[in-house]
């Protein structure tokens, strides 16, 4: 089964999640897991206000979206994410694609593509 599924891990802006989810849903990608994370990269941290003066927070709120999809859907999902999570400013995020060796549905113990 090796190589037939991939995990797409996208770090995006939190405010883009709802629109993106909707668009993914429309294309039939409804299985996903999201996590609140904090990130930094090109877009460095942020300066927040103390009572008087500032302090720096080095990490920004991001949302991590994880989807395990079949090989052939990878490009489609990547395109959707790039389209709907983009603002054009630094901090839009990254997509990482990881190999998945196996998938099991807890409820039925089905394996592989059928399990997602």
């Amino acid at each position: 089964m090796w190589g037939m599924m991939k995990k797409i891990e996208a770090i995006i802006r939190p405010e883009k999640l709802h629109l993106l989810r909707e668009k993914l849903d429309m294309k039939g990608f409804s299985g996903m897991t999201v996590t609140e994370v904090k990130g930094r990269g090109r877009q460095k941290g942020i300066t927040l206000q103390w009572r008087a003066g500032d302090y720096r927070v080095e990490f920004l709120q991001k949302m991590k979206l994880e989807m395990v999809v079949e090989d052939r859907d990878v490009e489609c999902v990547i395109d959707l994410i790039c389209e709907f999570a983009q603002t054009g400013e630094a901090g839009d995020g990254k997509i990482f694609v990881h190999p998945v060796e196996d998938v099991v549905r807890v409820r039925t113990k089905e394996r592989g593509c059928g399990a997602v």
Partner: protein, 425 residues
């Protein structure tokens, strides 16, 4: 000698235990004033956990419980200190202008009968005053959060109440030398806010900066909690200031209004200052309110409502830049800006009382320049006394038992390391 003191104590305690409060002379009690002052005492009490929440929201998550529970613990131990011997040290028969005698040790003779010179029971007066002692101690906690050992905090609090609060309160309110000189302090600018603010700085100097101070972000972990705390402070402060009229009269009404006005003026000013810098900060608005409340405290019953506006505005400006100065120095970590908010705010307030007083006393604008000098003297003495004694006290405690938790305990957070608890699951 020791024995006789002991037996005296025992006698006093027993008699108080069984009948002390029973010698009521209800004759002159005014029920309205009694209701007013008791309710005011309740209002001041809710400020104490209010301080805890106010502070607790501004520390990191791992120290939330620790910071919040300081005030609750202070409320517990100083309540006892006060009835056992604090009250008598402040309000017992004056000894040389410096301290009260032991007349009221263990509340001996403090009963349901009317308090001399007032229209309320002695017990009402006593418990109203208790709240002031407690809250003063709890204000200081803001300076050493996130690193103090809980046991040392308890010892420090008890000792500080005894060695700093009780004498200064006696000087100003208990018939001591500052009162004799005519120093004006309506509801505790000198007694509460200057002592707390200056002592906070002293103990911060001894305990040292937090690990990572100036490099790690020390982010306020829950600003809604801080706003909730500030709300309880503003609310309770009506009891604090208007209750200090000790009667439900026109002075109380006036103090109520000046209190609200100064808080509003200072909050607005602070908001504008932070806006100039960048954006109107919520933390700034509530901090401004507290600074304005601290500043009006000594003046509340002596000045007109409109005078409360400049008092609030200047308090906010002074507090704002004081924070920037102190934090900018990078050398001392008065973590939640107790000196800037309370010490500086109220130093201005005590001075302003000498300037603006027109009700029941006369300040500079009413032609009495002398009052300003008296106020300045009171400020200087209280700053000096508070700083020196607290600094020494903190050093001694540090030497004897250590003020600070271990490095790894600080890293992990005081909630886990000092209390074996976690704030949020």
């Amino acid at each position: 000698m020791l024995l006789s003191v002991r037996s005296l104590l025992l006698c006093l305690l027993l008699s108080a235990l069984l009948a002390g409060a029973a010698s009521a002379e209800d004759g002159a009690i005014n029920a309205a004033d009694n209701a007013w002052v008791l309710m005011s005492a309740a209002l001041v009490l809710i400020m104490i956990p209010g301080v805890g929440l106010f502070y607790g929201g501004m520390v990191r998550k791992k120290n939330a419980i620790s910071t919040i529970i300081f005030s609750f613990a202070v409320m517990s131990i100083i309540s006892l200190q006060w009835i056992l011997y604090g009250y008598t040290l402040v309000f017992g028969k004056d000894i040389g202008g410096l301290i009260g005698g032991l007349d009221f040790l263990g509340l001996a003779g403090v009963g349901m009968g009317v308090k001399e010179g007032l229209t309320i029971p002695s017990l009402t007066f006593m418990i109203f005053q208790a709240m002031f002692a407690i809250i003063t101690v709890s204000l200081i906690t803001g300076s050493y959060v996130e690193r103090i050992k809980f046991s040392s905090f308890l010892v420090f609090s008890l000792a500080w109440a005894t060695l700093v609060y009780d004498p200064v309160a006696h000087w100003v309110w208990g018939g001591g030398w500052l009162q004799q000189m005519g120093a004006l302090d309506f509801a505790g600018g000198i007694v509460v806010h200057i002592t707390a603010g200056v002592s906070a700085m002293a103990v911060a100097m001894v305990i040292g900066v937090r690990k990572g101070f100036g490099t790690d972000p020390m982010e306020p972990h829950n600003i809604p909690t801080t706003v909730m705390g500030a709300a309880l402070l503003w609310f309770g402060w009506f009891g604090f200031n208007a209750g200090s009229a000790l009667a439900a009269n026109g002075i109380a009404a006036n103090a109520f209004v000046t209190t609200n006005t100064s808080a509003a003026a200072a909050a607005t000013t602070w908001m504008l200052l932070s806006w100039r810098h960048r954006a109107p900060s919520a933390l700034g608005i509530v901090t401004g309110a507290v600074a304005g409340l601290a500043a009006i405290t000594p003046a509340a019953g002596y000045v007109t409502p409109l005078a409360a506006i400049p008092i609030g505005i200047v308090a906010a400006i002074a507090g704002y830049y004081a924070i920037i100065l102190v934090r900018g120095s990078g050398r001392v970590d008065d973590s939640l800006d107790v000196l800037a908010c309370h010490g500086i705010g109220s130093t201005w307030g005590v001075l302003a009382t000498g300037i603006f007083a027109t009700i029941g006393a006369s300040g500079l604008l009413a032609g009495n320049a002398h009052q300003v000098l008296v106020q300045l003297l009171a400020i200087a003495v209280t700053w000096g006394y508070s700083f020196v004694v607290t600094f020494g006290l903190a050093r001694i405690i540090d030497a004897v038992m250590g003020l600070r938790v271990r490095d790894d305990e600080e890293s992990v957070g005081l909630d886990i390391s000092q209390h074996g608890e976690g704030a949020y699951m």
